[in-house]
Symmetry: C2
């Protein structure tokens, strides 16, 4: 006897399996058409079963942000990139200590990060690949100028224990709608071009130039020199991705299933999904506070206007729908990666039927106690 | 050989055990002095060991928000309140199915919630206590007028399977500094007074009048009629609690330990704690965006100005401190309850020494598959 979506305990993330499959296919096809290596970021799903699908569809490897993600994903792929410099000694030891069957690469953006990584790599007798992170406008991480990038690449290339593989950037500052990215893409092309030229002049051509993000995914092939992309969000998409036109509303595969628990206060309805289920992530752009923290899949005009930890307050001002206590709704979150991180379990549905479930295995920071390396 | 705080893997929440003990003592003493029953909300710590300390210090029982919290806390206390109406059938069955050794009470604010709860209580042959939630200004949940409250109390009192215990309110709208709460408290007194008067006129005096929150904790005794309080945050406190003067900065017991991972982009430093470690919770009040998402314990002028999922960008504009890659910092989060919910493990420290650790046992929504009740 099938289990229907309205029968399960809320709040809980549910993934539309058909939409997930379509999203995986679309990105794989885009990369294949444009000759880009696809190294999806697992931070979005943190689930080995989805990572395995990504590998089956042609991904060259996986991108991770934490040691836990590396450890879990080493069961699925033998080619992993940690796109986040490990700095503390316990973390470096944990990262470099990953299964020897994995071809491991790490992003670094400072001499200190490279030097520490090389020290541990030598200590344990292992070569670790390095991608030097360059800042192409986000102003978060990365060598801030072509000169700084060249200096750091030279340093990395000279360190025993490390294997210089190339460069990496994250264009997270490009969040405008896909059709309005022309100027930003032109700037990116110019900035990346200068870095590549300088490296070539010094005989330090990168084997890999890794860029990409879901918002920029469909146009990154316009940036000459990029060989690899690392999108994460595309597997599920979310309200932000739809808002900038990097997916259609119908491509949003993950929703948070919630129940209307109160209509006591006139003019609103309360659901049992609050900030501990949805995350307090704003939409980008002006007036973001007014846009709420999520919207109903079937009624996008109904938004989650306010939240407590376990309460979401629906804004009913733009709908004729009159919710009743007990109604079950599906909320498209603003930022899906945070929603997955808040949960241990995700349900897979096809239509209205709950077909499967899987653990969010790579969430958390599970480690041994005490997590000390001396 | 002791383990020192700078030796453990980051990001991770660390709790100052002396501050935690002092916070527990202070609230217990306040309630004892004013003759208030203390029923702390476990949503903040989600840890049996802290709940056990609360019970040992005289709490009458515990407040929970989720079925998982109820289940875990039933090992620690035999008197539990679910301050959140269970509406979906799987959740109601799970809640009512908790150990028979527990005296269970549930907050409800609609006829539908009461009726559903009574049906399951009768089905399984158990009496469930009910506190009728009234809205005294927050506009989130609760009967919105004294008349509505009276109607709902009458309905509850007439339902077989339920035991009418009293009323409950959450004064979450009172978030101004403690010294500026006079007018809000006067309003609360008046509003609560009207509800109590109406119930008395109908011979439905509440046995319990449950109110309270950490921001209002130290003045709730000024509200006549309140018999019980349900503060949660006070065990750890946070930047919000300190900002409104409901605790001193030195009372913040939980910090997120983080490592400086990059100083590559001039004028800033990046730590390895981002929105997946700190939560994206704003400080209340005007200009909250400029106040950031946390501040350093030892340098409160240094705030976490921006975040990605695994990156926090420190605003260095108000400090002469020059952070270096590898420096370890302690971040006081804006909202500690969300931080705990993001983690599976918390470390306990005394001074600079890591003394213990404990699991955040009641986080998550662990359930059986499929979580269906028909």
């Amino acid at each position: 006897m099938p289990i229907y979506i309205h029968e399960i305990e809320t709040p809980i993330p549910v993934v539309d399996l058909d939409r997930l499959a379509a999203n995986l296919d679309t990105m794989a096809a885009y990369c294949a058409v444009h000759g880009l290596a696809l190294r999806p970021h697992v931070k979005t799903h943190k689930a080995p079963r989805i990572a395995a699908d990504q590998m089956r569809l042609g991904a060259v490897g996986l991108t991770c942000a934490t040691p836990r993600e590396l450890e879990v994903m080493s069961e699925v792929s033998d080619d992993l990139l940690l796109a986040h410099p490990p700095i503390g000694w316990p973390k470096i030891h944990r990262v470099v200590g990953i299964s020897r069957e994995v071809r491991l690469a790490v992003a670094v953006d400072t001499v200190e990060a490279a030097t520490r990584l090389a020290r541990v790599a030598r200590d344990v007798g292992r070569f670790v690949g390095v991608r030097v992170e360059v800042d192409l406008g986000m102003r978060r991480m990365g060598a801030p100028t072509p000169e700084a990038a060249l200096d750091l690449v030279r340093h990395v290339a000279g360190l025993t224990g490390l294997r210089y593989e190339g460069i990496l950037f994250y264009p997270g500052h490009i969040r405008q709608p896909v059709r309005e990215q022309d100027a930003a893409l032109a700037q990116l092309r110019a900035d990346l071009g200068r870095v590549l030229e300088m490296l070539a002049d010094d005989d330090l051509e990168p084997q890999v130039v890794s860029g990409g993000s879901t918002p920029l995914a469909w146009r990154i092939h316009e940036v000459d020199g990029v060989t690899e992309v690392r999108p994460g969000t595309y597997v599920f998409n979310d309200r932000t991705t739809a808002e900038i036109g990097a997916c259609a509303w119908e491509d949003c595969a993950l929703t948070v299933l919630a129940t209307v628990i109160s209509t006591a206060v006139p003019g609103q309805a309360v659901i049992d999904a609050g900030s501990k289920a949805l995350g307090r992530e704003p939409l980008a752009g002006p007036d973001s506070a007014a846009k709420g923290y999520g919207a109903l899949l079937d009624r996008p005009e109904v938004t989650v206007a306010r939240m407590s930890e376990e309460h979401g307050i629906l804004d009913l001002s733009r709908t004729s729908w009159v919710p009743e206590v007990g109604d079950v709704v599906r909320v498209v979150p603003n930022h899906v990666c945070v929603v997955v991180h808040l949960n241990d379990l995700v349900y897979g549905v096809r239509g209205e039927v709950v077909e499967t479930h899987w653990p969010v295995t790579a969430r958390g920071r599970e480690t041994e106690w005490p997590a000390v390396a001396r």
